[in-house]
């Protein structure tokens, strides 16, 4: 059979296609694949420059690394266990019961998105640290540093994601299954065991993997409240920044990569088996006062703790001398250490870059990917979602190894806000890409084909068929990247220089230097910026939906 007779694309269409395809892929190659390859190479490069597995053997031969690995596993395992138990209870309470004060729980679930991951730890220390308010008042002498502090702060950090995933699984179940069981005579408990639990199984699994992954690779809380309890994330930092032992750092980076990649793979496997039917009728919340009382109290108590911890940070930022002189002052906001507020502006600038570059490249890639054949499209899709399996810490390390070189391209990028922006973009590449793909699937293909048949070129197709549907998605992705850029710590911790630093790092440095109330003040500034961004996003999305309504009313 002869080759396909395909009308030649116009020059404009070809240019558009190749640009929107190759620029994002080149970005992925240079700022993701290349640094990752360097990490792998450095992990097998020995002191004398030859290749071999000696680094691995040496690291595994050190007795303390097994201790660190064990610590990491115990900490993340415990956190995961708590997260899925508590997460299921809260998700169930939100989805299926008529619990009062739902807004309180929702607020508690939004907070961790607004602040750098070390804010939970910072708040805990203000309450339970050596100079903690509670210890001062009661004289109990609770020891929060180490495992307990890590588990608590990481639970607060991972819980919102667990609730979101489990909640989505609960939302997908079909009320007709419950009706059928009821007609057959099943008690509420039987219905829970036979329908609810099996239905949420993959959600629980997925939430477990996500909790495990983000806590085993988290750097912020570990650095602040870890104390002498050493975990892989702090170990990698100590090897690289403390001892300048890049090759050893690379080995630990690879070790961190393994559980994460495994978790991502298992989660994909699990979600593929989950066949949510499109026509499911959602289950309506009902009332059962005993159940609602227990779940409601648990959810609200958890929410209160999360809110209290963050509120403590806000409160501490206005206190003259924690915890001895609790009078109100603004002096903590007069930050002069660590370049003062300069890192905040750098964060703002870099996050804006992340959002602009990221939204543009992701949109281009999504549009181009649609025009590919099935096999190629799948390859691009896989490449675009691989970054989700790479912890920020490992990505940051890979950037040091790849870009901290001679000051020609690409080494000249090292120490610039642009490189920080790119690192944050590729760190969150996968989530942004998935959102874009979901969005572009809602663009009816027939609409674009109509434009083509009516004589419109590909740019017109984008403007008249794709953009009107996609603009809320673009706004969402833009602000998602911006907000992540503002609060992320683990990737950029390696990329800062004496002159170019970011806000999240300032919080860490101020805390480590003993200026904890100023660290709190700086956190509050970051939270305000993110909160403003969140508000702006909501306002824009609201205006977009409203323009439609106004047009409808006219």
């Amino acid at each position: 059979m002869s080759a396909a007779v395909r009308p030649r694309l116009s020059g404009q269409a070809r240019l558009l296609f190749w640009t929107s395809m190759l620029v994002p892929l080149a970005g992925l190659a240079l700022f993701f694949l290349y640094p990752m390859a360097i990490v792998v190479r450095r992990s097998v490069t020995l002191g004398d420059g030859s290749l071999g597995l000696d680094n691995y053997i040496r690291i595994l031969g050190q007795s303390h690394i097994w201790g660190v690995l064990g610590n990491s596993l115990v900490m993340s395992g415990l956190t995961t266990l708590i997260c899925i138990t508590l997460g299921f209870a809260i998700a169930y309470a939100l989805q299926r019961t008529r619990m009062p004060l739902r807004w309180l729980v929702s607020l508690a679930l939004v907070l961790p998105l607004l602040a750098p991951s070390l804010v939970q730890a910072l708040g805990l220390i203000f309450l339970f640290g050596r100079n903690g308010l509670i210890n001062q008042w009661t004289g109990w002498g609770i020891q929060i540093y180490g495992l307990p502090g890590l588990v608590i702060s990481n639970t607060m950090y991972a819980l919102p994601q667990a609730v979101m995933i489990i909640g989505a699984a609960l939302r997908h179940s079909d009320t007709r299954q419950y009706d059928a069981a009821r007609v057959l005579g099943a008690s509420p408990w039987r219905r829970f065991v036979d329908i609810t639990l099996p239905g949420a199984r993959f959600g629980l699994l997925s939430a477990g993997f996500v909790s495990f992954t983000i806590t085993i690779t988290d750097f912020g809380n570990a650095a602040v409240v870890g104390g002498n309890y050493r975990v892989l994330a702090t170990e990698i930092y100590a090897q690289v920044v403390g001892q300048m032992n890049f090759n050893m750092g690379a080995v630990i980076g690879i070790m961190l990569l393994i559980p994460t990649l495994l978790a991502v793979y298992l989660e994909k496997l699990a979600s593929r088996r989950e066949g949510a039917s499109e026509s499911a009728i959602p289950v309506q919340p009902d009332r059962a006062w005993k159940r609602d009382l227990v779940l409601g109290t648990l959810s609200q108590a958890t929410a209160l703790v999360v809110i209290a911890v963050v509120a403590t940070v806000v409160f501490a930022s206005f206190v003259r001398l924690w915890p001895y002189r609790l009078e109100m002052t603004f002096q903590n906001y007069n930050i002069t250490q660590e370049n003062g507020y300069k890192p905040l502006w750098t964060s703002l600038y870099a996050s804006t870059l992340t959002a602009v570059i990221g939204t543009t490249l992701l949109f281009a890639l999504t549009v181009a990917q649609r025009q590919l054949g099935r096999g190629m499209a799948k390859a691009v899709y896989l490449l675009a979602i691989v970054p989700v399996g790479v912890p920020g810490l490992v990505l940051g390390l890979s950037y040091v190894l790849a870009f901290n070189t001679r000051a020609i391209f690409p080494g000249m990028l090292y120490g610039t806000a642009l490189l920080i922006a790119l690192c944050n973009f590729y760190h969150y590449h996968s989530q942004g890409f998935l959102t874009m793909v979901t969005g572009i699937r809602t663009v009816p293909p027939a609409l674009e084909e109509t434009v083509t048949c009516m004589g419109g070129g590909p740019l017109r197709g984008l403007r008249d068929a794709v953009l009107p549907v996609m603009s809320p998605v673009l706004v969402t992705v833009f602000f998602f990247l911006f907000m992540r850029g503002m609060v992320t710590l683990s990737a950029v911790i390696f990329l800062i220089s004496p002159t170019v630093s970011v806000g999240a790092v300032s919080v860490l440095r101020l805390d480590q230097a003993g200026y904890s109330t100023q660290a709190a003040a700086f956190s509050v500034c970051i939270m305000l910026v993110v909160l403003a961004a969140l508000g702006l996003m909501r306002a824009i999305l609201w205006l977009m939906s409203r323009r439609r309504e106004v047009a409808a009313a006219a």
Binding site: P7, S10, E449, V451, T452, C453, A465, R548, A551
Partner: protein, 331 residues
């Protein structure tokens, strides 16, 4: 202008979606591509539109090879089942869209849009947005939008399938009337035989990627050439030569491998007869007629009986054929 398709074929990987398609559409013809889902009719329409590449054969319009022209430059009009109106544009903007793409002067666009809105009875809705319209109204807008650019060919992809029965019947007539008035050659894809029979000048019956028969609606109904056509368009009984002989039908000379007699239920006349060869197995009420399932020499046979004929299961009947009925088809 004449659309000429010769020996066209299409592969999806190893799957042969279309094979050896020959089709001419000319003048002011209204052509229906009719077939079950998966027969390749939509693929053929999309190839004609230029939205889908093909693997072999030729596609010409007025002597010009369409393989070298992409969809954007073919100048055809297309209407999809899903309406596919631009959600952010008003009715008038949607209809004028193709003219705007062609950079026609605004005053000229406004005049053309007004004329088309009048033609499809949408003038009062000019400033509305698509979601404020019913399905039938939306599809009228889509049709007007396709017609605004005076296409050399109008392509309709199951345009009525998403509408309810009443609106569907109404729009059938309207589409046909507008098409006749403007004299634009039109190809419509449908799986609804009634739609094809009532609307088309020419019905193209497709099955498994090939054309089974092309003919006028009367042709394909009264003189189906293959068993598939006789079965898909209307209802048919199929009798082998032996059974057909019992009703006095023998294949004519030169009918080759035509081995089955296709008999419409209305081609058979029943008379109650205690010595008859048919036994009534069941009766289904269809409104205008009763469809009688007969057991006739051990084989089932469907026959339409008038409402006056009160037949009950177990009754014996004698069979006769309406003169000139029955067609020999290839198995």
């Amino acid at each position: 202008m004449q659309l000429k398709i010769r020996n066209l074929s299409k592969l999806y990987g190893q799957f042969q979606a279309l094979a050896g398609i020959d089709l001419d559409v000319g003048g002011e013809e209204f052509v229906c591509l009719l077939g079950p889902s998966g027969c390749g009719k939509t693929t053929l329409l999309r190839i004609i539109a230029g939205l889908e590449p093909f693997n072999g054969g030729t596609l010409e319009l007025g002597g010009r090879d369409l393989a070298a022209v992409d969809a954007q430059h073919r100048g055809f009009g297309i209407v999809f089942q899903s309406y596919s109106l631009f959600p952010h544009m008003t009715v008038a903007e949607n209809i004028g869209y193709g003219l705007k793409v062609r950079k026609v002067a605004p005053a000229e666009i406004a005049a053309k849009v007004a004329q088309l809105m009048d033609m499809v009875h949408l003038t009062p809705f000019a400033e509305r947005h698509p979601w404020q319209l019913s399905g039938g109204q939306q599809q009228r807008v889509a049709i007007a939008r396709a017609l605004a650019v005076e296409p050399s060919l109008l392509l309709l992809d199951e345009p009525l399938s998403a509408l309810d029965a009443r609106v569907r019947a109404e729009l059938r007539g309207e589409i046909r009337e507008v098409q006749r008035r403007l004299g634009i050659p039109t190809i419509m894809v449908t799986h609804d035989q009634e739609e094809a029979l009532t609307m088309a000048d020419k019905v193209v019956c497709m099955n498994a990627g090939t054309i089974e028969q092309i003919g006028s609606p009367e042709d394909v109904y009264a003189r189906p050439r293959t068993r598939f056509v006789a079965d898909f368009v209307g209802t048919s009984n199929f009798l082998g030569p032996e059974a057909a002989a019992r009703l006095g039908q023998v294949p004519g000379a030169g009918q080759g491998d035509a081995r089955l007699l296709a008999l419409r239920p209305e081609d058979v006349l029943l008379t109650p007869d205690p010595a008859g060869e048919g036994v009534v197995a069941g009766v289904t009420f269809l409104g205008n007629v009763n469809r009688v399932a007969l057991d006739w020499h051990g084989a089932p046979l469907l026959v339409d009986a008038g409402r006056g004929q009160a037949l009950r299961p177990g009754d014996r009947v004698a069979l006769a054929l309406v003169p000139g009925s029955g067609t020999w088809v290839s198995a």
